[in-house]
Structures are given as C-alpha cells and as structure tokens.
C-alpha cells in the first residue's frame, strides 16, 4: 500500500470528522431541518427528539444526567460560560478563582476579563512535569474562593491533572471545581461522578465530530450548580444558553461521543503504542527531551524538544508532508515561545526547539514510520547547520555567552 501524503499529526488542534458522524448529521441539514424549540409541529418534534437522543449520548460518555448538558458553540464558549457564569452567580459568596498558568487561552483570557470586572484570580505555577502542586493549590484557597479552574488534559504537552485529588480539595473547602476537558473527553475515561467535577467544558471537533458545537456540563445535584447566562434570548438550555440549537452539529456531537465510548479503550491502547514508538525513536537522537509528565498523560500526544534546532525551521523540513505543531512562534510580532513550555521551567531555547505530535483515530503505523525518518533526517541536517550545535559539541558553555538580544 502506498503512503498517502500529507500525514496529519495535529489532532490536538482539531480532528477529521469520522464518516459515521457525517452520516448521522446529514438528514438534519435537509429533511429534518426543524427548530428544536418548535413545540407545535412534527418538524420541531423530530429536531427535539434528535437533540434529546444526542444529549443522552453525550451524557453517557461522561457519566452524567442528560439534563446536566448545556450545548454551546464549542469549548471556548463553554469555558466563558462556566467562568463568567459562576463569577456572576456566586458573587455574594466570594470573588476569587484559582487556575493554572498552563491553562488554555480561553480560560486565561476569560480570567483576565473577570479581573477587570473586579474579581481576584490566582494563577498557580505548575511543577516541572506540568502537574499542579496540590499543596500550593490548597494553600491558595481563601474564604473568598468560589471556583478552581484546572484543565483535565493539557493541549500542548498532554499531561493529565490529578482531577480526583483536586476535586477532593474543592469539596473539603466548599469550592466549585471546573475543568476544561476538551483534550481528554473521548480519549481517556472521564466520569464526572468518579472525578468529582462540578462543571466541565468540551468540544465535538476534538473527538472526530463537527466544528462549532460543544458542551458545558453543569452539575445538578450535590451540589446543585448554577451559572448566570452570558447571552440573552429565548432561554434555551434551561435558561443558561440562549440561541437556536445547532441540531445537525449536536446530532454529530452525540454520535461522535457514542463512537468514542465504544472504541476509546482499544483506541487509547493502539495510539499509546504508536506514540511510544515515535517517541522512543526520536529520543534516540542526541539531546532530545520529552516535555511534561510521561506517566500521567493522554495516550496520543508527544511533545519533544530537539535541542539546538529551532522548531519552525525544523517543521519546514517536512511540513509539506507531515502536519505537526511547534512551540515556537518566530515572527516579529511574537518572538515568545510557548507559555506552557516556559511554565515547565524550560529555557526559551528548548521551548523554541519543540514539536507537538498529536496522533489520532486515522493515524497508521506506516505514517509513524515515515514521520520518524523525516523528522530524524531534518534534525540531523539542521544540526549540521546550527552554530549552537557546533559550539555545544566543542564544549562551549552556551549560557556563558553574552547574546545580543533582539
């Protein structure tokens, strides 16, 4: 079988839609086009029925009641709704939120917005392996704390936070726990009861569903959690998110969740094996390092730094054929490398030298073998061209050089 190029290894950015998902969605664009809120005719009933069914499929994947699912336009909206909605709803209890410096921008920028509104936010540093320091987390809780916002799995390095331990602390101090589950749901078993999650954002397009649809899980019992709506309108989704429901998207989301539910276990085993093969082969190169905790992480992600080679230059060696993501942003507008990698304590040089490989449902071993060869060849070629590599090989201490900073 000949290998088809380009190869997609950026599944943390988005995933291709599974054809089975598309098939489920199609009738809802044409024949069954009704508005799920039209209560008085068969068109509306058909749409509502489809949404109800999808809500069950979604709920089942994360172990909650269907009534606890609020459909949104995606995880960014769900993050906004959770944070701002809790901040407004629980204003009489306090105004303090605790989060991590390695959260997604949808969480960090929402927290910055809340600070402008008068809220207090603590941005906790993570440990060198990317995991939260539970002692520091507990120490940060005050009488004003209303919410802990810590992601389930990190989008850049794939580390899985100890959600159970976090929720135990939240319960102990009577604080709500919100987690951004975008990268984890559908990839590893997530159960809101077992994990003690009060609110969780997640998205369809990261799990082989369509773009433009996501959900916020909002706990209804023990405790009953409420969020203030951030959009005014028809009072859809139990008043928490107005706007006509994206019926085809929701149907696709439901089907995507169902497929993940059935296939997740086998898929996680297959992908972690491929990921480990990729990782071990690339680590055979000198001065290559895995970023983040290697034990507690998603099965399909590898973030690797290749010292003395710049990430964007590295990608250029194969990005016609292989799609990956780099922790380096070499533009005059942003010379800053990934804030997540820097939060692990990586020097800027190592952060600039990183690549993220995100495997997925359609990744094959043949593709991984091709990638190992292409990436290894390019690293070796660029190191031959790298003054830093030469200096390091000559025993020069690069930290002692006075660099001319731009």
């Amino acid at each position: 079988m000949s290998l088809k190029l380009p190869i997609y290894l950026d599944n943390n950015a988005t995933t291709p839609m599974d054809p089975r998902v598309l098939e489920a969605m199609l009738p809802y664009f044409t024949d069954r086009f009704g508005n799920a809120a039209s209560r008085n005719h068969p068109f509306g009933w058909a749409a509502e029925e489809a949404v109800d069914y999808a809500r069950e499929q979604v709920a089942k994947l994360i172990g909650c009641d269907p009534k606890e699912i609020i459909f949104t336009s995606g995880a960014t909206e769900a993050d906004n709704l959770a944070l701002k909605g809790v901040y407004e709803m629980y204003a009489s209890k306090g105004n303090h939120i605790i989060t991590l410096t390695t959260e997604h921008k949808a969480v960090l920028d929402t927290c910055k917005h809340i600070e402008k509104l008068g809220g207090q936010v603590t941005y906790l540093e993570v440990k060198e392996d990317g995991l939260v320091d539970l002692q520091a987390l507990e120490a940060a809780i005050t009488s004003q704390t209303i919410l802990i916002a810590i992601m389930y799995g990190n989008n850049e390095i794939g580390v899985l936070q100890p959600v159970k331990e976090i929720s135990n602390l939240a319960r102990k101090h009577n604080v709500l726990f919100f987690t951004d589950g975008t990268q984890a749901v559908g990839k590893v078993p997530v159960d809101v009861q077992r994990d003690g999650i009060d609110l969780m954002a997640f998205s369809a397009h990261k799990m082989y569903g369509p773009k433009g649809v996501g959900a916020l899980y909002v706990r209804r019992k023990n405790p009953r959690v409420k969020v203030t709506a951030q959009m005014d309108g028809g009072g859809h989704e139990r008043g928490m998110r107005s706007g006509t429901l994206n019926v085809p998207g929701i149907v696709g989301f439901g089907r995507a969740c169902e497929i993940c539910m059935n296939e997740m276990e086998a898929e996680a085993a297959r992908l972690s094996k491929l990921r480990d093969k990729l990782e071990q082969s690339l680590l055979a190169l000198e001065e290559a390092y895995v970023n983040g905790n290697r034990e507690h992480r998603l099965p399909h992600v590898a973030n690797i730094s290749f010292k003395y080679v710049e990430g964007e230059g590295l990608m250029m060696g194969f990005n016609k054929d292989i799609a990956v993501s780099s922790g380096s942003a070499c533009t005059s507008a942003s010379l800053e490398p990934s804030y997540v990698l820097k939060a692990l304590g990586l020097g800027d040089d190592l952060a600039h030298s990183s690549l993220r490989f995100g495997l997925g449902r359609f990744t094959t071993e043949e593709q991984i073998d091709y990638t190992i060869k292409a990436v290894s060849d390019t690293v070796l070629k660029l190191r031959d061209m790298s003054p830093l590599w030469e200096m390091w090989k000559d025993g020069v201490d690069l930290t002692k050089i006075e660099w001319a900073h731009h």
Partner: protein
C-alpha cells in the same frame, strides 16, 4: 505561512554552510542573535590579503527557514566583494530578493548585523577601528 520559492530553495540547498578558522587574522567572524529569541547566526568571511576581496564566506544558523535563507543568501553576496563593499548589503535587499513577509524582516536585519559583526571582527583583528557600533537592539 507559505514561504517563497527562493526561501525554500535556500533552505533545502543552503549555500556555504560551514566553519572557517576563526583564529586566522584574515577571517572575520560575526555571531548575532540569541537562542532565547529563536535565532542565532554565525557568519564568517575570509579575505584575500593581496586583493582585499572576500574569497570565502560561510554560515551556520539556528532559526526558521527565513533566517537560514537570509544567511545563505548573504554568504553568496559577500564573495568577491571588498570588506567595505560588504557593508553596503542592506537588509531590505535581502527582503526583496527572498520576498520575505513583514513578520520575517527581522531575519534579514539579523543577516545584516551578522555581516557588520564579521567585518568589524576582521577590522579589529587587523588593527583597524570598528566601522560602527553594530546595533544590538532592534
């Protein structure tokens, strides 16, 4: 971002990658940039003492494709020039030749700085004054 064909060509077939003996008095070495900024260029010139012409130029670059292409192009342009003529290479000429987008102009600036730094190293080694302070900040 899509790279121009010329950038891709220099990246795939870089000209004059290598190292000259920096201890020689007729070799000037310029090392500019910083690892934390994501690009470091080392550019070297070897001057023919009889004619005063640059007879060889070599580079090594840690950086993106545009940085590699800018330094590769610079070494091509340096050969056959006098040391004074080397200073006439302007970063905007590099931008034009490689069709660099605005966000990559700093790569050409770095190449110009590397040329100046190499020329100054050569001049100082040969008992001349450095022509101008190489701008360290942009």
């Amino acid at each position: 971002m899509a790279y121009s064909e010329k950038v891709i060509d220099h990246y795939q077939n870089p000209k004059n990658v290598g190292t000259l003996d920096k201890s020689k008095t007729n070799v000037g070495t310029g090392l500019v940039g910083a690892p934390e900024c994501g690009d470091v260029m080392r550019l070297q010139i070897e001057v023919d003492e009889a004619s005063g012409l640059i007879k060889d130029a070599k580079f090594k670059t840690f950086g993106c494709g545009s940085a590699i292409a800018s330094s590769s192009l610079a070494t091509e342009w340096l050969k056959g020039r006098t040391v004074d003529q080397a200073l006439e290479i302007d970063n905007m000429d590099i931008v034009e030749e490689l069709a660099l987008p605005p966000v990559k102009i700093h790569c050409s600036v770095l190449a110009e700085d590397a040329i100046k730094a190499a020329v100054n190293d050569y001049r100082v080694k040969n008992g001349l004054v450095a022509v101008e302070e190489v701008a360290l900040k942009h």
